[in-house]
Amino acid sequence: MTAQNQLRRVARYGMSIDIDKCNGCGACMMACAVENNIPPAPEAANDRRGVTWIRVYKVDNHRAYPERRTAFVPVLCQQCGHDTPCVHVCPQQAVDVDPQTGIVGQMPERCLGCRYCMVACPYHARYFNWWDPKWPAGMEKTLNPDVAPRMRGVVEKCNFCHGRWHAAQQKAAAAGQTEIDAADYVPACVEACPTGALRFGDLNDSSTEVAQDAQRPESFRLLEKIGTEPKIHYRSRRDWVREIASAPRPEGRDGLRG
């Protein structure tokens, strides 16, 4: 670590998601796949075998029409800030938390593909490459040169578009600055969201929108009682939507349905 890095303020990047604004269009998923060189799913893949660093779940209040209500919940790596489940289980240190940004990183080059981290993740936000990555002829020209494609047999997940963070750092360094401009580092999903449901920023900086969103009374985090301190803050004014934060209940017991 350079002396310059040591002087830099420690950030805690996080995201706020307004479920009431999300219309389930899936633009975030698409932008994420394009930005992070996620290949099209092979024909044999199903919804449990694809790679989707951010995944929009459709939930409803489990009531019959006309009381039926629906919401969309984008779920990505929750960037757990305390006792991060995937970090301490990895046998070969392929997962770490960057102390400078709070981002949970994954090193596919070191991953053994044991998938123990996937078992440990309560949010199912980690994905395994069941197939070799393949792009249709010509499509490989659209690949993002800042992000390395991953090989078969390794685990991957959302890293808040690390390629963009590096680019922002380089830009700041070229300008002789130690801090990056917040406008230069925005993950692809946040950029692509047409309704502005997703916001991104430093939770340590109380002036950011995301830090203020996290303090709102209608804000909640998924499975907070587990104690992993996730850095994705959801919010909704609807009581039944806020219930998704809690543990699952079997169907027929007023549970929510995904």
Partner: protein
């Protein structure tokens, strides 16, 4: 057909003809070949050949690994009882226990190599070890213990009639014999740790409240429960396999006292395990699980995993066989003994199934569905390859090595008895 390999068979032991032996071997060899083909498919084409997915990331193979390693615990525990605690009766099954341990551990390691996405990176765990990971501990301990088992297996091989004729092998075997006690001690230490770490693998999963357990320092309660359950069923599995080999080979291999001693040890440990498991379950239901926001009854609302599974694990396949094995009157009957030992083995398999499969089937997010999984034929084939490999290694070992040191003596005793009966009939 006469035995063309009789020169290799231990003096004084009787084995079937080569033809019969080949007939026995053939189907297992075919199964092994089919399993190797399945494993090859998974290695070459990738884990897309399995029915595992991003939710069910562990399947049949991890269940198999955990179960066979628990059953293979008989090797270390018998060694511990014989060489450290000096339970001399167990000398008659120690060789067989070592072979069973070797088969179980090497089989589990082979399946693990197929189960990981990048097997060629296995050495990374030794190069970049994460000391906080239970899996690191498991990898280190199992690798070391497998080496210990191989060294323990060597004297059994070197005592083969033909190999014994080579003077250097004789010397080597003698030297190895001198370190047996050290190996037993090292094996016991390593086994205690990796059996525990296998339990710890799941117990530390804060994100899976069904598996998560509190414990002592860095070790969750499952760490200790896995050690205890493995130590409890290890002798049961030795009892079961010895009985099975006796039936298949139609020979008396050990004295009935050995069976009873194994059952008593197994029963006692099983009873302690059942008690510890019951206390742990109560703490988990009333404190650990609610503390993470999950009420324990929720887990058992997802069918088919009702509370029956808890009852089966603790009472039916735990308490019941323990009571049978601890009751002298029942212990006197081989039928009861074998049934109880089989039930104890089923109990530990069920426990490993619950920890691996049920943990993954249960949803954690409120909008997440309950999921099911059924292994693909490639997974089943690889699983069967381990079974076939085990049977083959054991069969060859039984034929060419002296796995049961009392066998010759028992055969002579039986022959003398027969002669006596014949003489009594004549006069």
């Amino acid at each position: 057909m006469a035995s063309v390999d009789k020169e290799l068979i231990t003096r004084g032991l009787r084995r079937s003809s080569t033809g019969r032996f080949l007939l026995w071997i053939l189907p297992w060899a075919a199964l092994l070949l089919f399993g190797l083909y399945c494993a090859g498919l998974c290695l070459v084409k990738g884990l897309n050949q399995t029915n595992m997915d991003n939710r069910f990331v562990f399947g049949l193979w991890i269940f198999l690994d955990l179960t066979v390693i628990a059953l293979g615990a008989g090797a270390f525990f018998t060694g511990f009882l014989l060489y450290i605690l000096k339970v001399e009766e167990l000398r008659s099954v120690i060789n067989s226990a070592v072979v069973i341990g070797l088969v179980c551990y090497s089989g589990a390691m082979a399946v693990l190599a197929v189960d990981v996405g990048q097997p060629l990176r296995a050495w990374f765990t030794f190069w970049y070890p994460n000391v906080h990971s239970m899996l690191t501990e498991v990898t280190f301990c199992i690798s070391c213990y497998l080496t210990v088992l191989l060294i323990e297996y060597l004297p059994i091989v070197l005592r083969n009639r033909k190999l014994h004729e080579v003077p250097s092998f004789l010397v080597f075997e003698y030297e190895l014999h001198k370190v047996t006690y050290v190996l037993a001690g090292v094996g016991t230490f390593l086994s205690f740790f990796h059996q525990g770490s296998l339990g710890g693998l799941y117990g530390v999963l804060r994100g899976r409240p069904f598996a998560f357990r509190e414990g002592l320092a860095v070790w969750p309660s499952t760490f200790f429960l896995f050690i205890l359950s493995a130590a409890a069923v290890g002798p049961s599995f030795i009892l079961l396999t010895t009985w099975l080999v006796e039936k298949l080979s139609r020979k008396r291999l050990v004295r009935p006292d050995v069976f009873r001693r194994l059952a008593r040890i197994s029963g006692l440990l099983l009873a302690v395990y059942v008690l510890a498991k019951a206390v742990d379950t109560l703490i988990w239901i009333n404190r650990t699980s609610p503390g993470t926001g999950f009420q324990a009854w929720q887990y058992y609302s997802w069918k088919p995993f009702g509370t029956w599974i808890l009852f089966a694990e603790i009472v039916l396949f735990g308490l019941l066989p323990a009571l049978v094995m601890l009751t002298p009157r029942l212990r006197a009957h081989t039928g009861w003994l074998v049934t109880a030992a089989a039930m104890a083995c089923c109990g530990v398999a069920l426990n490993r199934f619950v920890m691996t499969v049920q943990t993954l089937a249960l949803p954690t997010l409120s909008f997440d569905p309950y999921l099911s999984y059924f292994p693909s034929w490639q997974e089943i084939g690889t699983f069967l390859a381990v079974v076939a490999y085990g049977v083959l290694v054991y069969s060859f070992s039984f034929r060419y090595f002296n796995l049961f040191p009392e066998e010759r003596e028992l055969r002579l005793e039986a022959a003398a008895q027969e002669e006596e009966t014949a003489l009594a009939g004549r006069y």
